[in-house]
């Protein structure tokens, strides 16, 4: 093969990466509490997106902006299921990070840019894996499974993974075995506005303790093991021992099917639950409540 990489090409690549980092750094911040150090980025003026998992309980945060200015921040909303938290700072004129709209491809080069005391930190690597939508351990819907093979430092959690076109692929966070996952820009674009308006991602609540059981006809369904006496299930007349077989005519084969149906839009809706009670089919109308905030 005639082609070989010249020093000039390497220098150009190096310069391009440094330029990319410098451009991104303007939108990155460090997020600090008494015990934690992580990164975040400007989502909109006055609003910072960061990794929920890296945040402490207490609302005693400061943000160090690019350039070193320290400002107090308070938590505007957090969603553990997608690992997205939103912070509000009383400071105008911040430059939002450009979020990518195009799909990223495996094998693309990327940098993960974080921030430590107002200066950029960088990990360089490739997008190691891109797959379809997935559900996090806590039931959050993430628009794509994106993994980055660079070595992210602890304080870089909550920073941005940026493609060579300068657009942010998403937020860099830690996954299993400290692998770096990217929470896609599309997920941030969906979740952050809800956190800004509501402070949380609402979840539907039935007030029922459920367990997946096999039915005698080889199907499966969700059995009611316990009933919250003040919950919507009790109000609808659901009893312990009932087996939920369908939701608005849609078969319920397992407890996780119900969890999927209890998204933000389910709150306040009245649904028809098909039940099997003592072997006989019956039906109740249940109005879904909002799951109580549990810290």
């Amino acid at each position: 093969m005639a082609a070989s990489v010249s020093l000039k090409q390497l220098t150009e690549l190096s310069t391009a990466l440094a330029d990319l980092t410098a451009a991104a750094a303007a939108s990155l911040v460090s997020v600090r509490s008494r015990r934690t150090r992580s990164s975040g980025f400007v989502w909109q003026d006055g609003l910072i997106v960061t990794a929920d998992d890296a945040l402490p309980d207490e609302d005693d945060l400061t943000v160090v902006l690019a350039g070193g200015e320290t400002v107090p921040a308070r938590i505007a909303g957090r969603d553990a299921s997608t690992d997205i938290a939103l912070l509000r700072v009383e400071r105008a004129g911040l430059a939002p990070a450009p979020l990518a709209t195009a799909a990223v491809r495996a094998g693309s080069l990327a940098v993960a840019v974080g921030c430590e005391d107002g200066t950029a930190t960088v990990a360089f690597g490739a997008i190691a894996r891109v797959a379809g939508p997935w559900r996090s351990l806590r039931g959050g819907e993430i628009d794509a499974r994106i993994e980055f093979d660079g070595r992210l430092r602890r304080s870089g959690e909550g920073g941005l993974a940026i493609g060579v076109d300068g657009a942010a692929i998403g937020m860099a966070v830690f996954g299993p075995r400290r692998r770096v996952l990217v929470i896609p820009a599309a997920t941030i674009a969906r979740v952050a506005p809800k956190l800004a308006s509501d402070g949380r991602i609402r979840r539907g609540y039935l007030g029922l303790g459920l367990h997946t059981v096999a039915l005698d006809d080889e199907r499966s369904a969700a059995m009611v093991m316990s009933v919250d006496a003040s919950g919507p299930g009790a109000a609808a007349g659901v009893r312990q021992g009932d087996i939920i077989t369908a939701w608005d005519g849609q078969p319920v084969a397992a407890v996780q099917a119900l969890l999927r149906l209890l998204g933000p839009d389910s709150v306040g809706r009245t649904v028809r639950l098909a039940l099997r009670r003592a072997g006989e089919p019956t039906e109740v109308a249940l109005t879904v409540a909002e799951k109580p905030v549990s810290g």
Binding site: A80, L137, R138, G139, G209, V255, Q256, L259, S294, G295
Partner: protein, 120 residues
């Protein structure tokens, strides 16, 4: 010694479709071994491990954490419900994520629903 030549009476959990049923087929006809059904006298028993069908061995504490994760609880909520520190809750969550990822079963809800009750 005659006692040595008595067949070993082995009790197997032969639930249809389970590993015990397959094991019974494999062991059928093995000299010196007699498979017995539940209720008969046996010298030894092979029973499935509680979580063996998941391929994941979880500690009792991890099971508690898994159930709460499936309900969408934050680390803080898990800590409060179980009376442990947030730091400890985070540690358990991390080890659960690693274990589930290792066997490619990252759907906590599916796992938790098989093991116990989920409050929705």
């Amino acid at each position: 010694m005659k006692a040595d030549r008595d067949p070993i009476r082995l009790l197997l959990d032969r639930t249809a479709g389970g590993p015990g049923e397959r094991l019974a087929e494999l062991l059928a006809g093995v000299p010196g071994l007699r498979l017995v059904a539940a209720g008969e006298a046996a010298d030894m028993a092979i029973v499935p491990l509680p979580a063996a069908d998941n391929g994941i061995a979880l500690t009792p504490r991890e099971r508690d954490v898994l159930t709460l994760l499936a309900e969408g609880a934050s680390n803080k909520a898990i800590a409060r419900r179980l009376g442990i520190s947030v730091h400890t809750a985070k540690f358990h969550v991390g080890s659960l994520i690693d274990k589930l990822d290792a066997v490619g079963r990252t759907d906590a809800v599916a796992q938790a629903a098989r093991l116990g009750v989920i409050h929705l």
